[in-house]
């Protein structure tokens, strides 16, 4: 089931008196399946935050349609099923963490008894229980992010929008947040993640879309986007350059990476078997064989650079 369906969405901002216009989103079409983690990637100013804000009714679209849970996105009651962690969010700094959660929980329409139980659970989950009675003004950036995440998950949302959720969080905290998100996904929740920390996105997302100057330039499965189709890394117990004939080395474009580690290029699946048979006939033992992958960062940079060149 599609939780988010966006069709031909555009947003143009006008400066004062409409003298200058900025296109933040340009004909964006994408959809997000239930129970997945969707990553929206892009440089600063690419339009990532604007897209989330449009979906949440914080910014109005200039053109296009959006549906969430099969309904028009402007239906206010849909927000009861949505959680949102904005980038650089600001909680009232005179409140304690618990007071913030109580206030925003009530604003989300949660009943007092359920809310009290839920607050304790969320504080525990983001490991903020011992700071819950401290004023927000004493919190570090990482603590603010944790509390923000607790706030976003308070109403047990089916759809969670996270805008740079690990911003300012230390590496251990980041891992914990990733684990929380994966657990939510396991429970069938859908997560829409905005981030420019590509290595992190790569670790948890199922699908990603790359936004550049308001346009989606690539969308797809993370595995598909990052795999190098023809290159394989192979670890053996022998020096292949001495064992294999010149014609074989040429056919598979054999490349030595380090001792016993090689890179080969295979054009079609059937030739992989030929290569393995050939090695075994020579008495070579294969310890490891894996398809080479691009990092999401490599893909992102090459796509953005190509787009810059084209434009």
């Amino acid at each position: 089931m599609k939780i988010i369906e966006i069709e031909n969405l555009s947003k143009t901002f006008s400066t004062t008196f409409g003298k200058k216009t900025v296109t933040a989103l340009n004909d964006v079409t994408l959809s997000v399946e239930q129970g997945t983690i969707f990553g929206l990637l892009g440089q600063n100013g690419a339009g990532k935050t604007t897209l989330i804000k449009v979906l949440l009714g914080i910014v109005y679209p200039t053109a296009g349609t959006c549906r969430m849970f099969g309904e028009d996105f402007t239906n206010l009651h849909l927000k009861k099923r949505i959680g949102f962690l904005p980038e650089n969010h600001k909680f009232p700094n005179y409140m304690t963490g618990k007071e913030v959660l109580t206030f925003f929980g009530k604003l989300s329409g949660l009943e007092n008894l359920y809310l009290a139980k839920r607050i304790d659970e969320m504080l525990e989950l983001v490991q903020m229980t011992k700071w819950s009675k401290s004023k927000i003004k004493t919190y570090s950036k990482g603590m603010m992010q944790r509390l923000g995440l607790a706030q976003a998950m308070l109403n047990n949302p089916d759809l969670l929008f996270l805008d740079e959720p690990t911003d300012g969080v230390d590496p251990i905290g980041r891992k914990e947040i990733r684990n929380v998100l994966l657990a939510l996904k396991e429970n069938g929740k859908t997560i829409f993640l905005n981030s420019h920390l590509l290595s992190e996105v790569e670790l948890i997302t199922d699908r990603v879309a790359i936004l550049h100057k308001g346009k989606i330039i690539r969308e797809g499965n993370v595995h598909e986007l990052t795999k190098k189709k023809e290159e394989y890394k192979i670890v053996v117990d022998a020096e292949l350059e001495n064992i294999l004939e010149g014609s074989i080395k040429e056919k598979y474009a054999l490349q030595k990476i380090s001792s016993s580690n090689y890179l080969i290029r295979i054009d079609e699946n059937k030739t992989m078997n030929d290569f393995v048979d050939h090695l075994r006939s020579k008495g070579v033992s294969i310890k490891e064989m894996a398809q080479e992958k691009n990092s999401l960062e490599d893909v992102f940079i090459s796509l953005v650079q190509a787009e810059e060149k084209n434009s």
């Binding site: 901002f13 804000k53 949440l56 009714g57 914080i58 910014v59 109005y60 206010l76 009651h77 849909l78 927000k79 009861k80 949505i82 949102f84 904005p86 980038e87 650089n88 969010h89 600001k90 909680f91 009232p92 005179y94 409140m95 206030f103 925003f104 009530k106 604003l107 989300s108 329409g109 706030q151 929008f161």
Partner: protein, 265 residues
């Protein structure tokens, strides 16, 4: 309704945390202490011997004292409430509020009513305090003084609507305050415009413009004078004073809500 009340209480909490509430409370307390001492300075005999009669003198005394104190109260209230809307619209804050299942109108109305509630709580203590002090000091328990509560609330509701509109429009508490103070300053000048029309002889267009401003803008000084007129049975209250002021409140308030509803954040 629940969401509006939540926002109202949130605004109250904001004012307490920003020490605005406590400053306002101290002001009210000091004013009441001042009134108590003033009432203890032997005015009793003077009032009893007043040629216009005890009741009338008492009403004038209470009205005069209250209006004097209220003029500072309004200045302080504008200062206290000017930041409520801009603080809601701050980047990073408004996103959190707008992502909740609460309409924009409810958010803004809650903030507006929060300002009114803070004002009302203090003015209630102030006016009832003056009424009580006058009661125990001069044994004058006349209720005709209390409509001043309503007129003051109406007066501040108008100023708060101005704060709301300019808060939404500019997201600046400073600019909002300037416009509210300007209205407070201009209103009595426009009310007494005929006194200085003498200096504008031959300048009919200018007079018409000034008249136009008078009819369009709220009649704050006249509103504040209504309880006195009622208490002393002096003259007839012109309905246009209330109607035009109420229309101004509605138009300014509506404009604020409309702009908030349409704005991207």
């Amino acid at each position: 309704m629940k969401n509006i009340w939540l926002m109202t209480l949130f605004t109250l909490r904001e004012s307490i945390s920003k020490k605005v509430f406590i400053a306002f409370s101290i002001f009210v307390l000091l004013m009441l202490v001042g009134v108590f001492f003033a009432a203890s300075l032997g005015f009793g005999d003077m009032i009893k011997q007043s040629p216009i009669g005890f009741d009338k003198t008492m009403i004038l005394f209470k009205m005069g004292t209250a209006n004097f104190v209220l003029s500072f109260g309004f200045l302080l209230s504008i200062f206290a409430c000017a930041s409520f809307i801009p603080s809601l619209l701050e980047k990073g804050t408004i996103d959190l509020f707008l992502s909740k299942p609460v309409s924009r109108a409810q958010l803004l109305l809650g903030k507006y009513l929060g300002g009114l509630l803070i004002f009302f709580l203090h003015i209630f203590v102030l006016i009832c305090g003056i009424w009580f002090i006058a009661g125990i000091k001069f044994n004058h328990w006349d209720f005709s003084f209390l409509p001043l509560l309503l007129s003051s609330l109406f007066y501040f509701a108008i100023l708060n609507a101005v704060l709301l509109l300019f808060g939404v429009l500019t997201r600046s508490s400073g600019i909002s305050m300037m416009f509210a103070y300007l209205l407070m300053f201009v209103s009595p000048l426009l009310a007494s415009r005929e006194k200085f029309f003498f200096f504008l002889q031959g300048k009919e267009t200018l007079k018409t413009i000034i008249d136009g401003f008078y009819y369009v803008l709220p009649k704050l000084s006249e509103i504040q004078n209504i309880p006195k007129m009622l208490a002393l049975n002096e003259g007839k209250i012109e309905p246009q004073i209330l109607i035009s002021s109420f229309l101004f409140l509605l138009v300014v308030g509506y404009l604020g809500f409309y702009l908030f509803e349409k704005e991207d954040y």
